[in-house]
């Protein structure tokens, strides 16, 4: 699955690594979508609403504190203007995902674990955009078929799960 016949959608990818943005561009534009790449996580949600993305794909670990992606995700879900925008989190932080799976499911956030199968990412994108083409198996796509729970939004804790993976910098 690469090219699909559906309408082109606008996808915002937020990641602080240029190689990842390049990779996503090749994948998403290969699917026929339009991509906006941000190498930073904006403090102001208005910047997100300005460009009106159909989907946001972000890493949780962005920026100097490495939690800016998580902060952006929380803010997006707490704001009326962005709460309905589909979000895919693409991350290698498996322990964080497990700890937050209730919140992620309750907030309809899909998770694609790194390293990912390209077909799985494409599948997650099609699902998030509610587009018909689905050919990949979803083994590495999490958080999409779960019963939403009523868990409260967890606090943003710099010493919490987001840093539990022991990053080097």
């Amino acid at each position: 699955m690469a090219k699909s016949s559906q309408t082109s959608q606008h996808i915002l990818v937020v990641n602080d690594t240029e190689e990842i943005l390049d990779l996503f561009r090749d994948i998403l534009e290969g699917m026929g979508h339009r991509m906006t790449a941000w190498s930073y996580s904006p403090d102001d949600l208005a910047k997100v609403t300005e460009i009106q993305p159909d989907l946001v794909i972000l890493d949780l670990m962005i920026g100097p504190t490495e939690l800016q992606g998580w902060a952006l995700l929380q803010k997006m879900r707490m704001s009326r203007s962005t709460e309905e925008i589909p979000v895919i989190v693409c991350t290698a932080a498996t322990s964080w995902v497990r700890e937050q799976e209730g919140w992620l499911a309750a907030n309809a956030v899909k998770v694609v674990l790194k390293p990912f199968k390209v077909a799985h990412l494409e599948h997650a994108v099609e699902q998030a955009l509610d587009l018909p083409e689905v050919t990949a198996s979803p083994e590495l796509v999490e958080g999409d078929d779960r019963t939403p729970s009523e868990k409260p939004i967890p606090p943003l804790d710099p010493g919490g799960p987001g840093t539990s993976t022991g990053k080097a910098h």
Partner: protein, 92 residues
């Protein structure tokens, strides 16, 4: 799967690996490697139809399996990176 698709998949593995390798500890990376191995194994069947991709697959596997303390050489980077390799690596 065509060659371009295989190349894209290898790139998805190696690019994410290099970034996470810079950021994470060896324990966390072992889980990452395990998933990378599964993805690389799933590409083995494609090598019959695309034998010219064998070197890229092997190079990717070798880099993934390398001990954390060592770093890749420039010639490997040139082999593995493909079109992205010519771009400057971002800081951090």
């Amino acid at each position: 799967m065509d060659s371009r698709r295989i190349e894209l998949q290898l790139r998805a593995i190696i690019v994410t690996y290099r970034i996470e390798h810079r950021r994470r500890d060896s324990v966390t990376m072992e889980g990452f490697r395990e998933r990378a191995r599964m993805l690389l194994d799933s590409l083995e069947d494609e090598m019959t139809a695309h034998p010219h991709m064998r070197t890229a697959l092997n190079d990717t596997r070798r880099e993934i399996e390398r001990p954390d303390s060592s770093s890749r050489s420039d010639d490997e980077a040139a082999t593995l990176d493909g079109p992205v390799s010519s771009r400057p690596k971002p800081a951090g």
